[in-house]
């Protein structure tokens, strides 16, 4: 299979404009003849559904939640980047592009990233016009902050709830289209498979999560905006319902899966506190602007944090990275925390935590100033841990948070299956091996509002006059039967173990061997362990109830079954990539100082995997990456 990214010709600054001109249009009267299915109602899906409907396409939008307003985009706290340069501090489209390519450790596609930086400015305009209440200065203009190690202030925010406010903007735009009938919304509906015939996506199969009804849907194009797969680790900051089923089923039907090993571990999360824990909670990384991270120097330290004198503390980020200190990028901060805990210096439950201390900031700025910046985060921390961060340092530890890998897409966001698109976190293209803070919201909305609505028109224009495949045709019946069979199989195992207990064990394998640091031996053993556990899953699982009712165990069982397959691919990818890049840290490949060591000669490519039967090795396809505009350098934050 030849991977053609379809990157337009010309200088990078002109590619998108040129492409927009060269793409074919669908005349307004014809748009209503086309129907598009959008799966997911987060920033990428909701924005795409609303924008396509505004253009005149008929849209059906599906989400597993009870309302389109609840997708996990809602939990993003910190902000959204845009190259507005409102602060006059030297920002530009080029600088945002440059920072994003560098931050991704040179494993993203330059043309996509440049386009992302270009449309970032339109996103802010759009959201403000929708009524998103971004933070403002006293003069009434928009406020910005610097975020995630950026040296310019380009992050727009709405208190600690930026994702919520952006999503509600999208939800409102979507609601307006639902009211006109241009979008039909199907909440509590989960996509369980995609129907592919003659290499083209023809529709999907869904399950009504209340009645259990399995239904086929036929359309002219299908958009997967179903988010990432961090829940493969069981414990992550993702919502409990977040799942990879849509993208994994698409992968099994022919869509290549790119860079699955690029998974981001966020440095500032509340540490695990018990074996019953169901998820991890992120504390915004903006806390690192004022908090100082440290561990005791003595592994046998038993005093309370506040009783340990300054000279017996190791402010390890400030020591190792004097230029960036506590503000080093996420991958570096996370690895450093793991390293000190591995040395036995960690604090709290199981020695898996480091202190994030505001005592100095409170002394310097006063408690009211800290409260006005972080008050809601401090309250949240206290609710969960029972400790008051104004008085004792927070304890934090890294947690799986975001996945840069996803379905391979070309410049038009189309997967290797014709007519099947992937947007937002579900695709792979913009963040390379590491995503910068405040860039996920930007990418989700860029894809949904400003990229997909154009590129999908070009595809549809080439299929004018073709009728969608009837839902009673053979391809639909065949996939429906497979979906039914799979659900029945899960229900009829009648073993001894619950979905959660097996998922938890899978998560531990992935976290141990394919988490923050990886090595060949560990990855090989993980692949074996995953296969063994997968066999147990399909022979010893216990799912209560039937398929024709609201059955949360059955919902989980299907999702975790797919995670079992995805986990294996993630390990293959990590094993193949004999280098360290961004979040992917191979212990065999590091500099003399212990930092990540890339191998551009051999690995400056996207690893796009073709599915085979489970248990057999997947087939690798490569998209070579080149960087004519951002010269390759070793990242340094010293």
């Amino acid at each position: 299979m030849h991977l053609d990214a379809k990157i337009p010709d010309g200088p990078i600054q002109e590619k998108w404009d040129r492409h927009r001109f060269e793409m074919r249009l669908v005349n307004p009267a014809n748009k209503r003849r086309f129907e598009v299915l959008v799966i997911g109602s987060g920033l990428a899906g909701g924005a795409a559904a609303a924008s396509l409907a505004e253009l005149g396409y008929h849209v059906k939008c599906f989400c597993y939640q009870d309302s389109a307003r609840r997708a996990h985009s809602i939990a993003a706290q910190g902000g959204i980047n845009a190259a507005k340069n409102y602060q006059n501090d030297g920002d530009s489209v080029w600088r945002l592009f440059y920072d994003t390519v560098k931050g991704g450790d040179y494993r993203s596609r330059e043309a996509n990233v440049y386009r992302l930086a270009q449309v970032s400015v339109n996103i802010i305009d759009q959201c403000v016009a929708q009524g998103v209440p971004f933070a403002r200065e006293y003069g009434g203009l928009l406020a910005n902050r610097s975020f995630g190690g950026a040296q310019v202030s380009r992050t727009f925010y709405a208190r600690g709830q930026t994702g919520q406010q952006l999503l509600l903007g999208t939800y409102q735009a979507l609601s307006r289209q639902i009211a006109t009938g241009q979008v039909e919304m199907f909440p509590r509906t989960e996509m369980l498979d995609v129907v592919v015939s003659d290499g083209r996506a023809r529709g999907i199969i869904t399950r009504d999560m209340v009645t259990g009804e399995i239904r086929p849907w036929s359309a002219d194009a299908v958009v997967l905006a179903t988010g990432g797969y961090s829940n493969v680790f069981f414990l992550s900051t993702n919502a409990k319902g977040c799942n990879a089923t849509a993208i994994w089923r698409a992968h099994r039907r022919g869509a290549l899966f790119a860079n699955p090993c690029y998974t981001q571990i966020h440095p500032t999360c509340i540490p695990q506190h018990g074996d019953y824990q169901s998820k991890l909670t992120l504390m915004s990384e903006s806390l690192r602007n004022d908090g100082r991270i440290w561990v005791p120097k003595d592994p046998s330290e038993s005093r309370a944090a506040t009783a340990i004198p300054a000279d017996e503390r190791d402010y390890y980020l400030e020591r190792r990275y004097p230029a960036f200190g506590n503000l080093v990028p996420r991958d570096i901060a996370s690895r450093a925390a793991k390293a000190v805990c591995d040395e036995g210096l960690g604090v709290g439950h199981g020695g898996r935590g480091v202190y994030l201390d505001f005592a100095d900031a409170i002394e310097r700025l006063g408690k009211p100033a800290i409260a006005s910046k972080y008050g809601n985060l401090f309250e949240k921390y206290e609710r969960i841990t029972g400790e008051n961060p104004y008085e004792v340092p927070m304890r934090i530890y890294p947690a799986p948070h975001y996945t840069m890998g996803g379905l391979w897409v070309d410049y038009n966001l189309m997967t290797t299956v014709e007519g099947l698109y992937a947007t937002g976190e579900a695709n792979f293209s913009d963040h390379g091996a590491n995503r910068l803070g405040a860039s996920a919201l930007m990418q989700g909305l860029a894809d949904g509002y400003f990229v997909l609505p154009y590129t999908i028109g070009d595809f549809l224009s080439r299929h004018m006059g073709e009728e969608p495949l009837p839902t009673d045709s053979e391809p639909f019946r065949a996939v429906t039967a497979e979906v039914d069979e799979r659900l029945q199989r899960l229900l009829s195992i009648n073993g001894k173990r619950t979905v959660d207990s097996l998922h938890r064990e899978l998560g531990q394998i992935c976290w141990e061997h394919c988490g923050m640091s990886r090595n060949a031996g560990g990855l090989r053993s993980a692949i074996d362990s995953i296969r063994e556990l997968r066999d147990e899953y399909w022979t010893n699982l216990k799912v209560i109830g039937s398929g024709d009712e609201l059955n949360q165990s059955l919902e989980k069982a299907g999702r975790v079954a797919d995670y079992f397959e995805l986990a294996e691919l993630m390990c293959y990818d990590a094993l193949l990539r004999e280098e360290s890049a961004g979040t992917h840290f191979r212990e065999e490949h590091r500099t003399g100082e212990g930092e990540a060591l890339r191998n551009d000669e051999e690995f400056a490519y996207v690893a796009a995997w073709q599915s085979t039967q489970p248990g057999k090795e997947p087939i690798l396809h490569r998209e070579d990456l080149d960087f004519p505009n951002v010269p390759l350098t070793q990242r340094s934050y010293k």
């Binding site: 609840r70 809602i74 305009d125 929708q130 009524g131 209440p133 992120l282 949240k380 609505p453 609201l550």
Partner: protein, 254 residues
Amino acid sequence: MRLELRIWRQPRRDADGDFATYHVDASPDMSFLEMLDVLNETLTEAGDDPVAFEHDCREGICGSCSLMINGRAHGPEPGTATCQLHMRKFRDGDVIRIEPWRSAAFPVLKDLVVDRSDFDKIIQAGGYISINTGSAPDANLIPVPKRSADLAMDAAECIGCGACVAQCPNGAAQLFTAAKVSHLALLPQGQAERDQRVLRMVAEMERAFGSCTNYGECEVVCPKGISIEFIARMNRDYLKASLRAGSGRPKGSG
């Protein structure tokens, strides 16, 4: 800590329900939902149907979780959604009664899961600014006084969980509706549709939910602390819009 739980069990929307009693061992560091997870693991292993309850982000922001705990929406801790409630707020030996949201407008689908789709219909009736993608002017073209922006954000923090309705003796959705009406009315971008928005949203609200008689219980249980002052603000807006519309109805509504 050992707890006795009395949980509402109902197999389907149109079926009868009743309370069932369970005993569970919990740790004070668990979240309330993790305590229910532990119960469900035990039930599943014993071959019994686990308790269905709504949850997703477990960070207090998605608005999915929706439990009446000892008669109070989201339980005893102020300003806290069910998923952020922790067991240290309870004591060994406590009896905890867990019910779904109480409201005729939120029918039970199974156990503790209810249908809140009428909230979506209120937003669809006008809870938006009509702006197509691509037609926005520069974001800094219209300054918004910081106080207005901050107040709009106070209203916009609503997570749409439905606690306000569940706690209200009338089952009214005034706080939810007022939060969206106020959020948009406080911003210059929301002015063009201000009248028709409040008229349409209130009409839809009245269709699906009960009427407000100022009990004020909504504000007390709101996990985001949305102020009841927004209801007064909506009522003022509604009155003005009605007077301007003459007939008291939006144009074209018959």
